[in-house]
Amino acid sequence: MSQVIVVTSGKGGVGKTTSAAAVATGLAMKGKKVCVIDFDVGLRNLDLIMGVERRVVFDFINVINDGIRLHQALIKDKRVEGLYILPTSQTRDKDALSREGVERVIEELRQEFDYVICDSPAGIEKGAYMALYFADEAIVVTNPEVSSVRDSDRILGILNSKSRRAERGEPPMKQHLLLTRYDLDRVAKGEMLKLEDVLEILAIPVLGVIPQDDMVLQCSNLGLPVVLEPKSTAGQAYMDAVRRLLGETVELRFTTPPKKSFVNWLLRRTA
């Protein structure tokens, strides 16, 4: 049974593309066949984060509008088996996404893949709407700050009323919270919202809490999905989220400051 998952947020710059790339790669590492689609027509980034920008020939828009076959546009990842990227066009805009065209591509991908991950653009305009319309599940990426939480709340309302499932009266879309850039020091100082505060407002289950980690930026500059960097705490947290997505029970990590062990204390004393 193929699942279509939209990664969305409303607000820009919260880590949608990084999360879509990490979750897609993580699912493939767990043996699933995964395709990740970039819906941000005109501002394509996913291929950069996935490190395949130099292999793009045809794209999602060509498949929708120009009679190019899906297999000519899909890019196979060289690092993880079963992972494919469908990049988007840099020269067109969101109007190139027709609902019929998107539906045809997603239905075709459903035949072949276990998971289809839709990387949504920011905003609540056509691109975002197309990315979420056909989804079965949603990962709502939120930063621990008020404006991001408000926008996520707005997106949750749209998921519940404007998706195909809602229009057809089918069971509602499964919604998951992915809290990213969680900076424990700033949370402790009260500069950022606590996980509990975010949950109180959004009231949806947590898929994962991704700690602030400088390695995320390094990885994205290198075109490396952060889950492929085992030293990264963010990468480990994304892998936990992937396991939860697959139905495993995994305890939340990186949500409380690390305990100062006796050895650490001793080291600091002697240093």
Binding site: R150, D153, L156, G157, E167, G169
Partner: protein, 224 residues
């Protein structure tokens, strides 16, 4: 008493019909979700019946529940029967479909306009969503987010935090009130008189309160 929406068919064959209807629903999806609908055929009584089966299945796709027809002529009655729709009398009075035996209209109007059964919403109302109940009380059993709007002709009850805006007594009924478990509202209004967040007594913030209209101004007090 259950309120039933009536959908007056003027040009059901218009290719724009469902697109326009969908737009209408999109303005207030929660109000229309799974709402029972009666098709009022008065304007098209003399026209050739359309395929009501196909028509009702389109309505169901929009999450409306077509239950019957009213003001149907003989040809429409047959079409309605084959589509499994009940024949209702004009004006929602159960009775015969024959317009010549229309029951006597009520001579006396009740002094206060009757209130409908109201609307109960069980899911969170998110920012940007508007829920309105034009003829009764609105009850929400979940949080109401920042930027969400509740509008009701009668009372508004929120069993959870109220963080958005609430307009009770929207048709001018000053007896309407707002009740909520956790007052964090951006704005509360009764019969057009309003208070914004800044005007609310900080001691009542986050508390279980009742808002009522006290002549020309709103009062807020804790609910025991």
């Amino acid at each position: 008493m259950q309120t039933v929406l009536s959908l007056r068919l003027i040009a059901p064959g218009d290719p724009e019909f469902f697109a326009l209807l969908r737009d209408k629903i999109a303005h207030n999806p929660d109000f229309f979700r799974d709402a029972p609908v009666v098709l009022d055929l008065a304007p098209v009584a003399d026209a050739t019946p359309i395929d009501l089966e196909a028509f009702t299945s389109e309505l169901r796709r929009l999450r409306l529940v077509p239950v019957g027809v009213q003001n149907a002529g003989p040809a429409w009655q047959a079409a309605a029967r084959s589509a499994g729709l009940a024949q209702l009398g004009p004006g929602g009075q159960p009775g015969t479909a024959n317009p010549t035996t229309r029951p006597e209209p009520l001579r006396q109007r009740p002094t206060a306009p009757p209130r409908g059964a109201g609307l109960v919403i069980a899911e969170p109302v998110r920012g940007g969503q508007q829920v309105s109940c034009p003829d009764g009380d609105l009850t929400v059993l979940a949080p109401v987010g920042h930027g969400a709007e509740l509008v009701a002709a009668g009372h508004i009850h929120v069993y959870g935090p109220l963080r958005g805006r609430a307009f009770a007594g929207a048709n001018g009924d000053e007896r309407a009130m707002i009740f909520c478990d956790q007052l964090e509202a951006e704005l509360v209004s009764i019969a057009g008189i309003y208070l914004v967040s800044e005007d609310l007594d900080p001691r009542l913030r986050g508390k279980r309160v009742r808002v009522w209209c006290d002549g020309e101004r709103l009062s807020i007090g804790p609910v025991p």
